[in-house]
């Protein structure tokens, strides 16, 4: 369905307001969570974990994990789950029905709902994984960093298969929070547009099974060729003005992938649509990449899915390798010449061999991933 939406240029953003919020904004909402609210066991029941369950059910993923468990042993499989929200939506709800003397209602007293590892633990249990499960929470770079950590754990022989994932859900914390920072737009985001006015929030769940094994194109596989991670060391919610951290992360990824800059056919930009991110990311990318590189932001399809942005955009980038179709930048009409990037507006069938994906988060946390076609 993702392939259809990309090919049809059908955005997932809509303007229905979020319950109990009067903020005007477009959101990338997973409607199934509202229309089919099948509960989970009480110690795990949160929107985030329901989305994790829904995402695990897509595309035969759970079957692939079962095969890996069968092949390597459950204890040789690990989970790396990127999230920024975890189950905080449930914590918010718990605070709305506090009992006397500031106590949680008895149904809300599960630590498994209120700690950062809520979804990571849930995913490991759902999949029957017996190796370590780790939550990675570095804001908007979380589920991109999960790929990097997975690569290292595999390299060090700690696991034979890692379930890399990312799940973040809409909640008042993020909707009110981003609004308080004046980063949200009242219209659907238009990344890298001259008239861009901010980001659109979204929610997403995604997973990838990463192994050391050499797979082929017939296996529907792609390879993680390189990763780079860095910190801006500048400000908590604004990027380094020269994109220093972004450049460091991209350079490290290219170096680790052992490729040349002009080998990168497509770059999936972080591209949130804020005036600041797009200007700085544009500057950093322009410095490093040739003008022939196709660049787009897919956040106009999904919204900014925060902790799940890494996995969402990694999957979109990897899928471009498999389908040959490079997504454009929806809603953007007038690319901002000041960003100095060659922004792809419309989808293009260009058969990329190597792709790059950027994810930059609060705290100046940057991660860049490079994927290539399996041979």
């Amino acid at each position: 369905m993702m392939r259809e939406s990309i090919a049809a240029k059908r955005s997932g953003l809509d303007e229905r307001p979020w319950p109990d919020s009067n903020i005007t904004t477009w959101l990338g909402r997973v409607s199934e969570l509202d229309t089919s609210p099948a509960p989970l066991p009480p110690e795990y029941d949160s929107r985030n974990n329901r989305l994790a369950r829904l995402a695990l059910q897509q595309d035969g993923f759970q079957l692939k994990v079962s095969e890996a468990i069968e092949r390597y042993g459950a204890h040789r499989c690990a989970v790396m789950l990127g999230t920024s929200t975890s189950s905080i939506g449930r914590t918010e709800a718990s605070y709305r029905r506090l009992e006397q003397d500031d106590h949680f209602n008895p149904d809300d007293r599960y630590a498994s709902l209120h700690n950062p590892h809520s979804t990571g633990a849930f995913v490991a249990e759902q999949l029957g994984i017996k190796g370590p499960a780790v939550t990675i929470s570095t804001a908007c770079s979380s589920s991109a960093r999960a790929f990097a950590s997975a690569a290292r754990w595999l390299e060090c022989g700690l696991a034979d298969a890692v379930v890399v994932g990312g799940v973040d859900t809409l909640c008042l914390s993020v909707i009110c929070g981003f609004n308080s920072l004046q980063l949200t737009s009242t219209e659907p985001c238009r990344p890298f547009d001259k008239n861009r006015a901010g980001l659109s929030l979204g929610e997403a769940g995604g997973f990838a099974l990463v192994t050391r094994e050499r797979l082929t194109r017939e296996d529907n596989a792609v390879a993680l060729l390189g990763y780079g991670e860095s910190l801006d060391a500048h400000h908590m919610s604004s990027a380094h003005p020269e994109g220093l951290g972004a450049k460091l992360a991209m350079q490290a990824a290219v170096q680790r992938a052992n490729i040349a800059w002009n080998d990168i056919h497509y770059l999936n930009l972080h591209g949130t649509g804020t005036r600041s991110n797009d200007a700085i990311e544009g500057l950093a990318c322009h410095t490093l990449l040739p003008e022939t590189t196709l660049c787009s932001s897919t956040k106009s399809w999904t919204g900014h899915t925060l902790g799940a942005a890494g996995i969402t955009e990694a999957v979109i980038s990897m899928d471009a390798l498999l389908t040959g179709l490079v997504p454009g930048t929806l809603h953007t009409q007038d690319p901002d010449p000041d960003t100095m990037l060659n922004i792809l507006l419309d989808n293009r069938a260009s058969n990329p061999q190597t792709v790059m994906s950027n994810s930059f988060g609060f705290g100046g946390n940057n991660c860049c991933l490079v994927f290539g076609k399996a041979l």
Partner: protein
């Protein structure tokens, strides 16, 4: 995986640093929540910034700086892994209370402080460090998994890696979900294994196939914070600090989640010191 520990830092009420920790070990019953509540110095934070920086961050920075100084390393040169079982429950509490009001008037500063890597972000700003900065968590298994993560970074990147583990006290209602009574932060500066004169060698392995009952009791702590009035799940890792405070070799086992166990062999050697 073989790595070495060349720096240690710690901060808690009544335990201001590594020397104080070793003194406390001699009589662990003397620590109580009524131990005078002090503020962590965290002297690399400029005075004008201290007001904005949450307690959880100050504690973690204090412990991290101690470890870097002991290891004689510029803090900005370390790759970092920060970890917490519950995160900053002060800011979670603030946000959820604000969101339960009709106005929902959230402070933008508190919102950007609510990301779990806020401490990592502040650390990098005050130290100027650009190397990879992570935040990992696995609730009660946080120390074990964070140590594994830090070890893989040390080996893969061949760079010094700072691991900082921390949790703050929870007030109501969060205390109902996870009772934490006293704050604790500690840090280890890791390097690739080498000459023991540069640090204390430890060897890590993740054991597999342990049944859940065994691994649930795998944490080795002959003393700990975990008694009524003194709870803090971050204290799991103090068993490793205790072993590093002795000169003999030791075997430790930490539950690493889902039935897996982290086995640590601490080699014989000198107690790390400044």
């Amino acid at each position: 995986m073989k790595i070495s520990v060349s720096g240690i830092g710690i901060w808690a009420h009544g335990i201001a640093n590594w020397e104080a920790f070793q003194d406390w070990r001699q009589s662990p019953d003397t620590l109580s929540p009524s131990a005078e509540a002090t503020a962590p110095p965290a002297d690399i934070i400029p005075p004008r910034e201290k007001r904005r920086v949450p307690l959880i961050t100050r504690m973690a920075i204090e412990a991290g700086i101690q470890a870097c100084r002991m290891a004689s390393i510029d803090p900005g040169e370390a790759t970092t892994v920060f970890s917490s079982c519950m995160g900053d429950t002060d800011v979670t509490d603030y946000m959820c209370r604000v969101l339960a009001t009709p106005e929902k008037a959230m402070s933008p500063t508190k919102f950007h402080n609510s990301v779990h890597n806020a401490t990592s972000g502040y650390w990098s700003i005050f130290t100027g460090g650009h190397h990879s900065g992570g935040f990992v968590s696995a609730y009660l298994h946080s120390f074990a998994t964070a140590l594994i993560e830090a070890a893989t970074l040390t080996i893969s990147e061949n760079k010094p890696t700072l691991l900082v583990m921390y949790d703050i006290a929870n007030r109501n209602p969060m205390h109902d979900a996870c009772p934490i009574d006293t704050p604790l932060a500690y840090a280890l500066l890791l390097r690739a294994a080498g000459d023991t004169t540069e640090g204390r060698n430890i060897s890590l392995a993740v054991a597999s196939g342990i049944d859940d009952e065994k691994s649930a009791h795998a944490n080795t702590t002959e003393f700990h914070f975990e008694r009524p009035g003194n709870l803090n799940p971050a204290a799991n890792g103090l068993a490793l600090l205790a072993a590093l405070g002795d000169t003999g070799s030791q075997q430790l086992h930490f539950a690493a989640g889902n039935g897996s166990v982290l086995d640590i062999s601490v080699g014989a050697g000198a107690v790390p010191s400044a």
